[in-house]
């Protein structure tokens, strides 16, 4: 009975959350609930508040008002407990480039308190799956951006987190690795792992996410499944790109292109 109650609780609950940076309102009174096992897509143009929202969920940024609850814990009350249950991939991550991939993943495993056996097994599996075999002993500074991204993704998944916060996770990945990550996220979702993903690649959001939230100017313009978004935009046959452009008021790009061509 208790388990049932727990599973019904939202994994992430933002209530009236706002964040300002000087004169700029990054997030404006945001209410959001994400359920267990859900893949939730956070879309929006540059500067719409997606990354700030993800950082507030992780406790990296303190909201000016409102509260953030993750897995039943108020992030401000016990940020370390929350972080222990989260895997995070930031936008354009910088990692310790003087370590090898193995050393970095070993570091990550230790930070999350994994046992040596579990670490070894998980690291070997991920390194093999994402085609890092043969380069895992090299210093990370010599890796391409895509390889670094793979290392960051592995470090986020290594400790079997209950919640994944992914900011543009598939950028720079080769098609095979991107496919593996997408399939893996679906598989993890079926096992109850929740994913909140921010992306600009609308095809990926459309194909992967159970629900999508579209942010603009720090506000949540629309929220729902693809079907619900189509209804809201009154575009029953359209894809996510058209819906996104209509809802964010940026659909009329023709005059811009014409001006640039002059």
């Amino acid at each position: 009975m208790k388990v049932m109650t727990l599973t019904r609780l939202p994994v992430v609950k933002l209530s009236g959350v706002s964040k300002r940076y000087g004169d700029v309102t990054a997030v404006d009174y945001l209410d959001l609930e994400v359920k267990r096992g859900e893949i939730f897509g956070l879309l929006g143009p540059n500067g719409s508040g997606k990354s700030t929202t993800l950082k507030m969920i992780l406790g990296l940024v303190k909201p000016d008002s409102g509260s953030v609850n993750v897995l039943g814990i108020n992030v401000e009350d016990d940020p370390v407990a929350v972080k222990r249950k989260i895997g995070y991939v930031p936008e354009s991550p910088r990692i310790y480039e003087f370590l090898t991939a193995l050393e970095f993943l070993d570091f990550t495993g230790d930070v999350y308190g994994m046992s040596p056996e579990e670490k070894k097994k998980r690291i070997e599996e991920f390194v093999r799956a994402l085609d890092l075999e043969g380069r895992e002993g090299d210093i990370i500074s010599s890796y391409s951006e895509g390889m670094k991204q793979k290392v960051v993704i592995i470090s986020a998944l290594l400790h079997k987190p209950e919640l994944l916060l992914l900011d543009e996770p598939l950028s720079g990945l080769d098609p095979k690795s991107a496919r593996i990550i997408k399939d893996l996220l679906r598989e993890l979702a079926s096992q109850g792992v929740t994913t909140i993903m921010s992306t600009h690649i609308l095809e990926i959001a459309q194909a992967m996410c159970d629900r999508i939230g579209i942010m603009y100017g720090g506000r949540l313009l629309a929220l729902g499944t693809m079907k619900e978004l189509r209804q809201k935009a009154k575009m029953p046959e359209s894809g996510l790109e058209d819906i996104f452009l209509k809802l964010t008021g940026t659909s009329d790009v023709k005059p811009v292109v014409e001006a640039l061509m002059k």
Binding site: K62, R94, D110, V111, P116, K119, V127, G137, S141, S142
Partner: protein
């Protein structure tokens, strides 16, 4: 050659080296008045010095003395190009060393329509700007002013031109070294394979030491007159070395040997042309050279047995400690930390060697105190200040990981104290070997060094957390904001003096034990009582600093990216 491109590139390079950073660093700011003030100040100072010396010369009535001064001035003018070459080499090399580890290096923008000649010339000119050019401005303005009073205007003007040319030669040589260094470093990395990390660490330490030994031999405790004399004599003897041709040209000009002047002047121009050609060719070949990657392991993952775990560290704390150890042995901008204790031992040794074999007892006691107390304490202060900021832009990993303030402080402090005590031990051993103190003095010195290192490491870590600078901007990551670096130094100096205070009478007695200055009497048990008081102060300070460090770390983790 597009000169506008060259000037634009010089401007970019110079700006990269003098970014003035505030707490809000989103915008580039520079204070032009401050930049030009140094050059204008050097010029005015040079004019004043020249005017003062010139008037002094004019006022002399003794003709023999006048003649002597004229000969001395001529000698000085002749040696100036070689001296400029020496300081030019030292300062331009220093500037290169400071750029080590810059993440955003001033790479040639190879996709822009800029030729290698333009890029190389810009790099050479940018290297000259700063300390070398400020010194040269001062020397040139004073030489020109003095030459007017001494009636040596043609030689003065020629000397100034030769001085500038020498600085250019020095900068070209540094440019060539820079490119070769990248190439050689890449080749060694490739050849060393798995040992590359250690080869790089040891190679960097050796090259730093060689550089500093040369630097101290040239400038530390050397009389300027002796330097001028040896350079003037050396120039004549070693005339076949191209770097000395400018000096030889001036020498020939001063003595009226016009054919020699013409020949050596042409040869100097040819040599400068050759150096520029070589620098361009090397840049074309290796300027965009990518060093091969370093393979540390063959990819077989073996989790480490927990030695640190047995010492009471959690897996998280041990992970941070291991990571920091790797950072300090692999990040080139952090490696220089290991040079400090070596330099501290080399400097007094050079000084002692100059003074002959017999070491006076006062100097010996001073050397013992200096070596026992200073290197370990300074290591604690410097490491403590840098420790948090050394995370750089990867600090998000700490923010996003389940790291508590307590664990963070424990891991960082353990690293600092481990290295400080190691340096204290090595330098104390060197001090005992060099000065042969009594067992009692050796033990008191070592224990006091520990009493200094333990609290100062905690104070510095606190300042390092409060003033952490995670930006990785060129020329190299700074790691701590200047204001906090200053606060760190001041607080550590005050606390260090407070800890040392009880032992100061004993120290004075030891240093001057054989001289007549010692008129006060200290009982035999005095140093032990003093040591106890020192220890008590150290414990109280460490406890208080630890509390502040924890609060600061909590604040840092809470505020994270704000």
């Amino acid at each position: 050659m597009n000169w506008k491109n060259v000037l634009r590139l010089v401007s970019v390079d110079v700006k990269a080296s003098r970014m003035i950073r505030g707490t809000r660093f989103r915008r580039f700011r520079e204070n032009k008045a401050v930049i030009y003030a140094f050059y204008i100040g050097a010029c005015i100072l040079g004019l004043l010095v020249g005017w003062f010396v010139g008037n002094f010369f004019v006022g002399i009535t003794d003709l023999t003395l006048k003649q002597l001064i004229l000969e001395g001035a001529t000698n000085l003018f002749i040696t100036l190009p070689t001296i400029a070459l020496l300081y030019g080499l030292v300062f331009t090399q220093m500037s290169q060393i400071q750029r080590i580890g810059a993440k955003v290096s001033v790479q040639p923008l190879y996709w822009f329509p800029i030729t290698w000649q333009e890029h190389t010339l810009a790099s050479i000119l940018a290297n000259m700007i700063g300390v070398p050019l400020i010194i040269t401005t001062f020397v040139c303005s004073s030489i020109l002013t003095v030459s007017f009073f001494l009636d040596l205007v043609p030689l003065g003007v020629f000397a100034v031109l030769a001085l500038l040319a020498s600085l250019f030669l020095a900068s070209m040589t540094t440019e060539i070294f820079k490119v070769l260094q990248v190439r050689i470093y890449g080749a060694i990395t490739k050849a060393a394979g798995r040992a590359a990390v250690w080869v790089r660490l040891i190679g960097s330490i050796i090259s730093f030491i060689v550089f500093y030994v040369i630097y101290f031999s040239l400038y530390y405790n050397v009389s300027p007159l002796a330097l001028i004399e040896s350079v003037a004599g050396g120039q004549k003897m070693l005339w076949f070395i191209p770097y000395l041709w400018l000096g030889v040209t001036l020498s020939a000009f001063a003595t009226g040997l016009w054919l020699e002047t013409g020949l050596f002047l042409l040869a100097s121009i040819g040599f400068a042309g050759f150096l520029f050609w070589a620098a361009v060719k090397l840049n074309v070949k290796f300027g965009l050279y990518e060093a091969p990657s370093i393979r540390v392991s063959r990819g077989v993952y073996v989790p480490k047995a927990g030695l640190l775990g047995r010492l009471g560290f959690s897996s998280l704390e041990a992970a941070i400690l291991r990571k920091d150890l790797r950072a300090f042995t692999r990040r080139r901008e952090l490696m220089y930390i290991f040079i400090f204790p070596i330099i501290f031992i080399i400097m007094p040794l050079l000084s002692a060697m100059r003074g002959g074999t017999d070491m006076p007892s006062t100097f010996s006691s001073f050397l013992f105190i200096y070596l026992t107390l200073l290197p370990g304490t300074l290591m604690a202060i410097i490491l403590g200040g840098l420790m948090m900021g050394s995370e750089g832009e990867s600090v998000w990993l700490i923010y996003a990981s389940p790291v508590s303030a307590k664990s963070l402080v424990k891991a960082k402090y353990s690293f600092i104290i481990l290295f400080s005590l190691l340096v204290t031990s090595v330098c104390s051993f060197a001090a005992i070997f060099l000065t042969n103190p009594s067992l009692k003095a050796a033990l008191i010195g070592f224990v006091e060094a520990v009493f200094l290192a333990v609290p100062l490491a905690m104070i510095s870590l606190t300042c390092g957390i409060k003033g952490a600078d995670f930006r990785e901007l060129p020329p190299r990551p700074r790691m701590i904001r200047p204001i906090w670096s200053l606060i760190n130094m001041i607080v550590c100096a005050i606390v260090g003096l407070a800890i040392l205070a009880p032992l100061i009478p004993y120290g004075i007695q030891r240093i001057f034990q054989s001289s007549l200055i010692t008129t006060f009497f200290l009982p035999d048990y005095y140093p032990y009582i003093a040591l106890l008081i020192s220890g008590a102060i150290a414990v109280v300070v460490t406890y208080m600093a630890h509390k502040i460090a924890l609060n600061s770390a909590e604040e840092l983790l809470r505020k994270a990216e704000q």
